[in-house]
């Protein structure tokens, strides 16, 4: 028997679910949030025991338990997919706040060109510049249209940074390549460390445009427009994969979720595994989920919002038989289309003999960056690839198990290695590249034919591999990071043309920036949702998150995810009043 109907049901209570719950309950809507993990709030006080690298960063306490549910991977359409039997390449969060609890806090806006990647590429380089199997799409929304929502997210979360473009006026010291902002960042930029100052000087001497990376970790206390006050970061160095014990890292559990609960209109149900939307092909009626005793429950609602991680949003649509599954052979359908990732590699490292930097201090977003080689900020003519990425030197906290470093040529273990880790643990500087991940016709998400989760539902199957365009991009990036490293001038340098492994490796951590599968766009044939993240096929269903990105940009995704969440909330409230399609 179905439970009592509510105005809206949200699947997943992380950044997206928290923001939408807050916006809807503020307007008096009754909202139920279904969270697959714990809902007992891990308070800032309880995170005082969290400086435990093994527990959180190695044994993965805050992440999805792959024994219950994982993903399978194949590198091409002809291969049999194999399950990822433990966490590796990416680390989706679980529990109240989702990945918003354990993220680093790097909060970017995508470039205006990123939202029109297809059109912009064709206009500047011609259609032939793109490989035949590449399937870039425009987003169906422009940067200028999304700007107010970026602004809202940044002021809510208290993002620290320095604007490089306010209403078209370029400001040196900020990112002069960014799209125009309507106003300055809400919080002053973080300072420079010894390491980032070297990167800043070297890139500036080379004629590039360094600026402090935008951060959700407060350098000074901040009161946001909702009246929430948070304290400043201690730079403890335990950020990514950990919760914040002082609440300095913006996180839905210290911002939007408590406010939504305060309205009395928001109910969160934990250990509730949503798996399908009951629907008639035109309207979603209810969300089906397994409750804490494993029984199926049915939560009816006027409005249904999928706000879980990329894979779960797509899987729910596929299991619901809502929307048309993407067929990579025919190129038809949209659910599962344009799965993308993040192209890492091409970094350079340098070691100073006889110097020690306080690398164990830091925050997840403490960095200096240049954007000169991202997106289409540089001329790609003759380079043989499209796209680019951000180049940064960060100081995110050198937790010891994950941060030993030795120069190339050092023995891999034993006495010599032992002497080297002592000498070099604190003396290294690194320059990294985070590249775009363009979409391809064969890359997509669907349901695995062989493997199931602990409730008996098929796993998501990922079809993905590195393509020649990204290999060329990474080779190029390596020459740039090496150039910067040479200007930094350490005693020993490692770098050069970057390379990617023979195949995408699901076992090695790279990035939790999976995107696509329920992409947004202007054409119902090639996208799942419109510019309000409303499903073309079922107007009372909204699907929101990085699953909406038609391809991934050379930046961390959360800033854009937060902007889309505010955009969706506005659309949902409009739909609640008027009904029908919003575009």
């Amino acid at each position: 028997m179905a439970l009592k109907k509510v105005d809206a049901v949200i699947v997943g209570v992380g950044w997206v679910g928290g923001i939408i719950a807050h916006e809807l309950t503020k307007q008096g809507l009754s909202v139920v949030g279904l969270e697959r993990g714990r809902t007992a709030k891990r308070s800032t006080v309880s995170f005082q025991d969290d400086h435990d690298e093994l527990r959180y960063a190695i044994r993965n306490e805050l992440f999805q338990n792959t024994a219950n549910e994982t993903w399978s991977l194949r590198h091409n359409l002809g291969e049999t997919a194999l399950p990822m039997r433990q966490l590796g390449s990416f680390l989706p969060g679980t529990g109240l706040g989702g990945a918003g609890v354990h993220w680093n806090g790097q909060t970017w806006r995508f470039h205006p060109r990123d939202f029109t990647a297809y059109t912009s590429t064709v206009e500047r380089y011609g259609k032939a510049a793109m490989p035949a199997d590449m399937s870039l799409q425009d987003w169906g929304i422009t940067y200028d249209e999304l700007e107010p929502y970026y602004d809202r997210f940044e002021y809510m979360a208290g993002i620290a940074g320095k604007a490089g473009n306010i209403n078209g006026r370029l400001i040196p010291g900020g990112n002069v390549f960014e799209g125009p902002r309507s106003r300055e960042f809400p919080v002053q930029a973080q300072g420079a460390t010894e390491l980032s100052a070297m990167f800043q000087k070297a890139t500036s001497d080379l004629g590039y445009h360094p600026f402090p990376g935008p951060s959700a970790n407060l350098p000074v206390p901040y009161k946001n427009p909702d009246g929430v006050t948070r304290g400043q970061c201690t730079y403890c160095g335990f950020c990514e994969r950990f919760g914040c014990e002082v609440g300095a890292k913006a996180d839905p559990t210290v911002t939007v979720i408590p406010l939504a609960l305060k309205t009395g209109k928001f109910e969160i149900r934990g250990y509730s595994h949503a798996y399908a939307i009951k629907n008639d092909g035109k309207t979603g009626q209810s969300v089906l989920y397994f409750d804490g005793s494993g029984r199926v429950q049915e939560q009816p609602a006027d409005i249904i919002i999928l706000a879980a991680y990329v894979f779960n949003n797509v899987r729910t649509l596929l299991l619901s038989k809502l929307g048309t599954p993407y067929d990579p052979n025919k190129g038809t359908g949209s659910v599962g289309r344009n799965y993308c990732y993040q192209t890492g590699g091409g970094g350079a490292s340098g070691w100073f003999t006889g110097k020690r930097f306080k690398r164990y201090m830091g925050s997840g977003a403490l960095s200096m960056a240049i954007d000169d080689f991202n997106a289409d900020n540089f001329d790609h003519s003759g380079l043989g690839f499209i796209g680019g990425g951000s180049i940064t030197s960060g100081q995110t906290g050198a937790r010891p198990i994950q941060s030993l470093t030795v120069p190339p040529g050092t023995a891999p273990f034993g006495r010599e290695w032992k002497a080297a880790i002592q000498k070099y643990y604190a003396s290294v500087i690194s320059v990294g590249f985070q590249g775009e991940s363009p979409a391809y016709k064969m890359h997509h998400l669907d349901l695995d034919p062989n493997y199931r989760d602990s409730f008996g539902n098929p796993l998501v199957r990922i079809t993905f591999d590195w393509q020649p365009n990204e290999r060329k991009m990474i080779a190029f990036a390596g020459t740039k990071t090496l150039e910067i490293m040479k200007a930094i001038n350490p005693d020993i340098i490692s770098g050069g043309p970057g390379s990617l492994p023979a195949h995408y490796d699901s076992a090695v951590y790279q990035s939790t920036h999976n995107t696509g599968g329920a992409i947004m766009g202007a054409d119902p044939d090639t996208s799942v949702v419109n510019s309000y993240l409303q499903m073309w096929d079922a107007p009372n269903v909204f699907v929101v998150g990085a699953c909406n990105f038609p391809q991934n940009a050379g930046f961390n995704p959360t800033g854009t995810v937060g902007a889309l969440a505010y955009r969706a909330a506005e659309g949902i409230l409009k739909f609640h009043k008027t009904g029908g399609s919003l575009v």
Binding site: Q48, D49, H51, D52, E53, L54, R59, N60, N65, T66, A67, L73, H75, E79, L82, P83, M84, R85, Q86, L87, G191, T193, E194, P219, Q232, C233, T234, Y235, C236, G237, F238, E245, R356, K358, Y360, M361, Q395, A398, P400, I401, L404, P412, F413, G414, R415, K418, A419, I421, Q422, Y425, A426, N450, Y451, P501, A502, H503, Y504, D505, S506, A507
Partner: protein, 252 residues
């Protein structure tokens, strides 16, 4: 602000106090100072050499010898044996990780067609250690005429390099999906964990791993906020005086 003795010290003294209280309550006037000392000594010994929870003695000695090859105890400083890496690995293999509590081990197990698929055997790490070590021992005896623990350090290095490079081909329970390189990588990672995780997990005793590289441990213990240092070139005075996570003594 919160400068406390290291966990080991405070545990020992707490045990003595507890014992004193028990003795007092029982009114056992015959308890001698010697008896109390030996109880304390027993507690200290149990902390230093706890019983094994997963590994057999043979496996423990084998693992310890291999860990010493990775991070040796030598004239430069303490290594895996001193840090208790064997006890760390024993604890991990007996716990959730070693028993595969977060591993997806459902079938089917298809042949692995290309690289990049990671763990593809129907075994948890504890099973893998148990199956792999005797097979490796056989290889070492055949190749170097002795068991690993009996070899000199130079030959041990060679034997471990045979794993690292894949020269030693060791089918794991008949499977080729888990190679000697895979075992080496997992083992080396476990040794690093045992040297550098919080001492609460049985390794990194005396925080020798942290002291070696200059990692100051849990920043919350001193209440010393890093923002006073991170944007300066001022050295941090406690790099070689680390503190572990704060022990919890229980509520009321």
């Amino acid at each position: 602000m919160d400068e406390q003795p290291e966990a080991g010290h405070s545990m020992t003294s707490r045990f003595s106090r507890k014992r004193l209280l028990q003795v007092g309550a029982a009114g056992a006037a015959t308890a001698t100072a010697g008896g109390l000392l030996s109880d304390s000594a027993n507690a200290a010994e149990a902390a230093a050499t706890p019983p094994l929870r997963f590994l057999t003695k043979w496996e423990f000695d084998y693992v310890t010898a291999m860990a010493e090859t990775i991070w040796p105890t030598d004239d430069l400083g303490p290594g895996a044996r001193v840090a208790g890496v064997g006890y760390y690995i024993d604890g991990q293999l007996s716990g959730g990780w070693g028993q595969g509590h977060r591993f997806y081990l459902n079938g089917p197990f298809f042949p692995v067609a290309d690289s990049g698929h990671g763990w593809q055997v129907p075994m948890a790490p504890g099973d893998v250690y148990r199956a792999f070590l005797p097979a490796y021992d056989q290889y070492v005896r055949q190749t170097y005429s002795h068991s690993y623990v009996e070899l000199d350090a130079v030959t041990q290095t060679q034997a471990l390099n045979d794993l690292r490079t894949g020269k030693a081909v060791i089918p794991l329970a008949g499977s080729t999906a888990f190679t000697s390189v895979d075992f080496f990588n997992m083992f080396r990672q476990n040794v690093l964990e045992g040297m550098l995780a919080d001492p609460a997990y049985g390794g990194n005793r005396g925080m020798v791993g942290w002291k070696w590289i200059g990692f100051p441990g849990d920043p919350m213990r001193r209440g010393d906020v890093y923002y006073k240092y991170v944007f300066t070139d001022k050295p941090y005075p406690y790099e070689h005086k680390p503190l572990p996570m704060k022990p919890y003594k229980g509520g009321k």
